[in-house]
Symmetry: D2
Subunit: 142 residues, 4 copies
Amino acid sequence: MSAGLRSTIDVEVRYAETDQMGVVHHANYLIWFELARTHHCARTGVSYAAIEAMGYWMMVTGAELSYRRGAHYGDTVQVDCWVDRLTSRTVHFAYEVSRDSEALVSGRTDHLWVRAADRTPCRIPESLAEPFARLAHAEEEG
Amino acid sequence: MSAGLRSTIDVEVRYAETDQMGVVHHANYLIWFELARTHHCARTGVSYAAIEAMGYWMMVTGAELSYRRGAHYGDTVQVDCWVDRLTSRTVHFAYEVSRDSEALVSGRTDHLWVRAADRTPCRIPESLAEPFARLAHAEEEG
Amino acid sequence: MSAGLRSTIDVEVRYAETDQMGVVHHANYLIWFELARTHHCARTGVSYAAIEAMGYWMMVTGAELSYRRGAHYGDTVQVDCWVDRLTSRTVHFAYEVSRDSEALVSGRTDHLWVRAADRTPCRIPESLAEPFARLAHAEEEG
Amino acid sequence: MSAGLRSTIDVEVRYAETDQMGVVHHANYLIWFELARTHHCARTGVSYAAIEAMGYWMMVTGAELSYRRGAHYGDTVQVDCWVDRLTSRTVHFAYEVSRDSEALVSGRTDHLWVRAADRTPCRIPESLAEPFARLAHAEEEG
């Protein structure tokens, strides 16, 4: 049970995201995860666009998805995101997609800090260490 | 100069929508147009999902796009949509994508009313004729 | 070590598949997996399009991906697919994406047989049981 | 009637490219056009990846599509591409998507030569002028 912050975004299903089964194609959930991750990272006070501008990437090294129910065109779903685990060189996010509290899809993504200039792994940039620790461990204010 | 209603939605650029030029890939604007169209059609009081449930499609028969400036990851853009022309069998939408009043991309899409059951063109469903006429011709209040 | 058949397809990287990191966006690998799976399933003698026409789906219930190196625009990569495990109600595929024998991405997807009419899980259709068993267990002819 | 070279590629419809109408979503044709354009440009002897490595982009400034019939999952379609018009600063490509000689979709895209370093429009790079002129005007052999 993570004690960190949790962000939730609303995502409106796009027609182009459906496939001929009449539900959202399974690859799109990775894109929704990314959108929720963008919002969650911004709560450190540094947007992911700004992190890239500093010369760093949080390169995706792994992903896992578990599909229970499909989202449909016309739905607005909620995507929850939180930091599941944090090391000096990696960040692991977890996600839950739901529709009115009904669980649809859950998953995780693994990321490695990389210096963009030479594309080599590195430690989390010093200025981001404390903000990410807070993201991972702070209690939500109630 | 159209006298009809005009809808505007905010779209937050997704990382997956960028390409290696560092801007949004040009095909994604058609998907944003579609999202704005969904919102605009809903102002008839009948969502596009409900129109499909009635057994009709507004099949895309044409599209045109004009690209001036690119949107970037980190941007939230505005997509305007309005009905440019309306006939008994077709609807023509126009679009403008902008970022803080700076014009990025404009375009139009052409649609034909089609009965889903046999995929043949048809007239606009009777119950939708007046709502779409209002969408196309009503003055904005205000 | 699976003893079954293994299919390999070539995939040419599309510009639209890249993102602003200059490599293929990580969600696209699920789409390449699907393309390889389509080819692999066709070796049963029944295409996946024909399976759907019979009224069945192989619904995706899970996916896992491990990213080592990125593919670039200009690359043609190889996607290998094989059946990793087969039960009376599920099929589990494994994948490897490589470029000139250099491993890029690997993964798996889990599928449940579902009757399309009522969207309920079912056993593998009788006529497909033997062809899929052959896919999963047959030795490649040398 | 263009007298230039014409390239044709086969594209196998991907499941992810379909939408809930059961046909290929209309935005994907721009991506297929791009794939055909990549092949066509390569016939100059310089791949588009190499053109980018030289520091140039053929930035998309406009696109137009006309949809007659939809492609389906299971189809392999042909995408034809040729240079419709060429100026010192622009290239205009035309496209036809067909399935067994049945016309599905046609279109065009407009491109502007741009120096990547400062993102400003420029003339076609000198070393490419003759190869592109040949692409646009040469008679097919045979």
